[in-house]
Amino acid sequence: MAEIRIENLNKSFGAVSVIKDVSLTIPDGDFCVFVGPSGCGKSTLLRLIAGLESATSGRIVIDGRDVTALEPYDRHLSMVFQSYALYPHMTVKENIAFALRTAKTPEAAIAEKVAKAARILRLESYLDRKPGALSGGQRQRVAIGRAIVREPKAFLFDEPLSNLDAALRADTRVEIASLHKSLAATMIYVTHDQIEAMTLADRIVVLNEGQIMQVGTPRELYERPANVFVAQFLGSPKMNILPARAAEGMIVLPGSSSRLAAPAGWGGLVAAGLRAEDCTVTGPDNGVLSGIVVVSEYHGAAQQLLVDTDACGRISAFTTADRDLRVGDRVGLDFATEKLHPFDGGGVRLA
């Protein structure tokens, strides 16, 4: 098990720069999730760590050793691919044992390790089948089994759940989490799914256009996003951004007569973020803002509204389902100052 350190890493494909000066340290035993929209470079970053792509510049250090110039087979990492990439001509047992045979492990030890992995992943009754005779979820478990038998320095997962259906995805997510706990191994996990990122990660790395936007625990990222991109990427519905200004120690919202005191350090306020769950729906004359309901979605436990406030744009808010608010109803929106996320003109968090 090992710490992974990335120093000023750059990767270009021709003239296109995909990874731009990324530096990151993943501590030993950490579950680190790379998340971001398509094309943000998260898979490329993982492949650079794996050695499947070579870096244009910068260093990758695994367990204190500079591996930047090493081939994948010399880095001692395991990888689970999005497409599973099982060897179709080998049985499940042979697939799982392949890396051990490559490393010339004694047959007795191989049998023992394969049996253990099969037990953990509930694959015992499929060991003599070929991958073609397995379901998607079973293939996924074989791919994980192939990764865990060799006791690598770290595990790399490249969107491993995206080919599974929703129910299986939730189950497998739990399995991966418990696997991390029992192996206490360094894991890097790439996904575009923020629920996977939030539930699995010790540490989330949010990437956009080849750059790290923010690194932190799921709670840190959700509660104190460093910029508008992270604020809007995590959370559903995405965070409302209000065109607020600070003047004479007060927060000024267009179209609102309410006066909210601005905390210290909010002088450069250009935008205020507000999550839907922090926004209370009140009667039309009570809130900080008021507007007309344009979309009303019934979620069972709650009702999600999209309210057009005119001067402050459209704002998402949650309310209890029993209110039964309909499109066209006029409502008020109320919130506390401490729930606002202050951003400056460049989208960077203030205070």
């Binding site: 081939e71 994948p72 497409s83 991958p131």
Partner: protein, 275 residues
Amino acid sequence: MKPRLTLRWIVFAIAAFVMNFPVLATLVTAFKSSGEVSRNPSLWIEAPTLENFATVLTISDRLNVYHYLWNSLAAALIGSVLPMIVAFPMAWAMVRRGYGRAILFPLVVNLRALPLIIFAIPLYMMYATLGLLDTRLGLGLLLAIVNLPLALMLLVNAVAEIPVELEEAAHMDGARLPRLLFKVVLPLCRPALITTFVFGFITAWNEFLFGLMLTTREAVPMTVGASFFFATSGGGVQWGTASAVMVVAALPPLLLGLIMYRRITGSMVAGAVKG
């Protein structure tokens, strides 16, 4: 059976008969005595006989069918296996590393478009210098060159069909190039390798021109040897014997084709990646 379907089968039968007429005529003639051949041109045999086969399979001073069969087998094996050995790593390097993709690959493939006879004279002189004339190895090497383009084409397609993630997974599993090639890529190319072998073997077995040119006595292949039977004891062509020797010569590739037919189709990569 519906009339339309009956009509369809009648048409099929006529077409099959017309296209296979030469084969049928040869087969029938092989079982006729020399007297009957000159008398009875029909497809019906009045007095079936094995005497033609007996003549062919008997070793005489001049003719030894077993020797020709052995020469053909040896040369055809060299001519079909060697291209596979050469083309497999070449195909991988072309697909995965791009070596020779731009120039070498089109060049080798277009070798098939050239009439081979233009190589005849320089080749004969080279073989004379190297002492390869009238040897099974010499004939086999030439047949290997004839088969190389097809082998390369089939294997390039086979390697290109293998998802690249499989090779990446093998690298992640610690496999270096030799293990990757022999434990992952080679087994996945098996259908293409079998196809290459069957087509290569049949082409090599049936080759006549270079067999005639490069051999005189020791390494005469079956195709050339068969022609020796046409005029056995002077005078005209012995049609019965000629037919029988053709049947004997055609059997090995025919059997190989029948045995291997089921293996030359089908894909190996089912279940490798999703879907």
